[in-house]
């Protein structure tokens, strides 16, 4: 998954194929979907794709399986390939199932100047994994990200919708403990 930019044109989603049935949004979420579609003129419903993919990840286990993408295609009345194209282009979308909690540490210059390399190394050692891997208990997936727009508050990481800034090893310890507690019974 990491460092695959030279293969950007050829990422395939078919290896994610499962014969699971397509998931479905709840009635309440379908109203949200309709609201997203209504933001665009008639016939331009494809513009709502990214917003719906974010929602689908949130609702269906933190990633986009082929059945999930097929379902979204059906909702928007577009071809499944149009969804795969988008899901593989944008780095935020997971096309493989990650751990329960995904940690994305910014690795770009400004964060590096204030110690992001050391934070990445610290988390790697603590969880006994390398960037791109998931901890043995399936809890944490560690990734790196490019500049997340928090450069003055680094080192930082993103976890779901939240930014955690001014990281130190002590803060990382605390964060991992909290996250582990929050997610252990899910």
């Amino acid at each position: 998954m990491q460092e695959n930019w030279t293969h950007k044109m050829s990422i395939s989603v078919t290896h994610n194929y499962t014969d699971q049935p397509e998931p479905e949004f709840s009635a309440e979420k379908l109203l949200e979907v309709q609201r997203f579609i209504n933001m665009y003129p008639e016939g331009k419903q494809k513009s709502a794709l990214m917003r719906i993919l974010h929602l689908a990840e949130e609702e269906f286990g933190g990633w986009l399986s082929v059945p999930t993408m097929n379902y979204v295609a059906r909702l928007l009345n577009i071809q499944p390939i149009e969804v795969y194209e988008v899901a593989t282009f944008y780095t935020m979308f997971n096309i493989e199932k990650p751990g329960k909690v995904v940690l994305e540490v910014c690795r770009t210059g400004p964060c590096m100047l204030v110690g992001s390399d050391q934070i990445i190394e610290y988390i790697e050692n603590k969880l006994d994994i390398k960037v791109g891997q998931t901890s043995a208990d399936g809890m944490f997936t560690l990734k790196t990200a490019e500049c997340l727009g928090a450069c003055g508050y680094g080192p930082m990481l993103q976890c779901g919708k939240h930014y955690h800034e001014h990281l130190t090893p002590a803060k990382v310890d605390e964060l991992l403990d909290t996250l582990r507690k929050e997610h252990s019974d899910k």
Partner: protein
């Protein structure tokens, strides 16, 4: 203290709500424009203000607006560029998070000026919580009659919606942004046609940065001439600078253009100097795409005059001894930082973010990253340094969008000013590896 036109009320408690924002003079520009000005009047005020695009290129906003094609019966669109992904830049996030109604107010008057009835804010996907803040503010603006049908009884209708990206720097490029907003991969389009003629869904479109749009509010309130009084020459008004790196007080500052770089870096009112009592080694003053400046060219130009925070002064000396104001992402390096490592880091960023549709950029950024990686890790050769320059030349000017150039120029500048450091990495391979930089994140095989 300099004048603040955008962030003056940013720290008023509750300013993110309609009520408090309105009580602090919010939405006055909408009343003024819709009730007393024609759309053309608004465009003229923006032209008179001398406002230049705050997204990086510094193109005059009023002039850009005057290019918008206006064929009968075809809708026009205003898109706000809130993709903000240029390393070192985090000002738009600050503005939207703190004072979201300012952006919405700017979108209303700007859309009115351009004759758009539907506008969008495209925000990077990682800023999902900011999206939620802005979307809440949009709902309040609708509820109070500042969006929707017949705004303030003027007969003008405007719908405003917000769309997220999905993690792709390239979507900040305006045609990639349009593609992305159409629900596709963010591959930039070949220009011409320019968006002003054929943009979103084939209709005339203007793309402007968050800060440019917010600046239209004080311009309409006080008049373009008043705005133009701030600043020096063609650098008018105030600018948000996001300062980061090894500074005592990194953060987002609104400065009057024309402030001296020396004062900005060292005065306690602004960044407060270099962190940990260290000395400055280099500075990238306008986001990762602009040339790096070595210590002797940061606060002074090559001619020995004071370097100022203006488009012109930062560019003085051209590529040989100058840089650019760019997006205002001001990155400061202390004396312990390794330029080779940082150049590699930025090259890796561009290689990662290249959309891949032109070979010079897709392959070239990848090659530069590989060569820089082996230099940084003590496995490079002297001729690698010239090889980098060679790759540079193959990318520059041979691509669909400016990302290729943006990747090539910083490497060229780093070699120009810090060649000995690159050479040192070749002549001292063991020390280059042993320096105490955590290299745990580098699992890629060296080639």
């Amino acid at each position: 203290m300099g004048r603040k036109l955008l962030l003056e009320h940013a720290n008023v408690p509750g300013i993110e709500t309609f009520e408090v924002y309105r009580r602090n003079g919010g939405y006055r520009s909408v009343e003024k424009a819709l009730k007393t000005m024609s759309p053309q009047n608004v465009v003229e005020e923006v032209q008179a203000s001398g406002l230049r695009g705050r997204g990086g290129a510094g193109f005059p906003t009023g002039m850009k607006w005057s290019f918008l094609a206006k064929p009968e019966g075809v809708p026009r669109y205003l898109l706000c560029n809130a993709d903000e992904s240029e390393p070192g830049t985090f000002k738009d996030r600050y503005l939207m998070e703190k004072i979201p109604h300012l952006l919405i107010e700017g979108m209303i008057v700007s859309s009115y000026a351009l004759g758009c009835n539907q506008s969008y804010i495209y925000i990077r996907g990682e800023y999902m919580w900011v999206l939620e803040i802005v979307e809440k503010a949009i709902a309040e603006a609708y509820a109070n009659g500042f969006l929707g049908k017949n705004i303030l009884g003027s007969g003008y209708d405007l719908d405003l919606a917000i769309a997220p990206g999905g993690g792709a720097y390239i979507c900040g490029e305006e045609t990639a942004l349009i593609e992305s907003l159409e629900g596709k991969r963010g591959n930039p389009r070949i220009k011409p046609p320019f968006p002003a003629v054929k943009g979103l869904w084939g209709c005339p479109t203007v793309v402007n940065n968050v800060e440019s749009i917010a600046a239209v509010v004080p311009i309409v309130n006080d008049g373009g001439a008043e705005y133009a009084k701030i600043g020096i020459g063609k650098s008018t008004g105030t600018k948000l600078i996001s300062a980061c790196g090894n500074l005592v007080k990194p953060g987002v500052y609104e400065i009057e253009l024309g402030l001296s770089v020396e004062e900005f870096i060292y005065s306690d009112e602004w960044c407060g100097g270099i962190a940990n009592g260290k000395k400055i080694k280099a500075c990238v003053p306008g986001g990762s795409s602009v040339p790096i400046l070595p210590a002797n060219l940061i606060t002074k130009t090559a001619e020995g005059t004071d370097r100022l925070m203006t488009y012109e002064s930062l560019a003085e000396g051209g590529f040989a001894t100058g840089s650019m104001l760019g997006s205002g992402g001001f990155i400061v390096f202390d004396e312990d930082q390794c330029i080779v490592r940082n150049t590699w880091n930025f090259a890796r960023f561009y290689a990662h973010e290249s959309c891949g549709q032109c070979s010079p950029c897709r392959e070239g950024t990848g090659w530069m990253e590989k060569v820089l990686r082996r230099l940084e890790h003590g496995q490079g050769h002297m001729h690698d340094i010239d090889l980098l320059a060679e790759i540079n030349k193959k990318i520059e000017g041979n691509t669909i969008c400016p990302l290729g150039d943006a990747a090539a120029w910083p490497v060229a500048a780093a070699i120009r000013h810090f060649r000995e450091e690159f050479e040192w990495h070749v002549t001292h391979p063991d020390e280059a590896v042993k320096r105490n930089f955590g290299i745990a994140s580098n699992h890629m095989p060296l080639v």
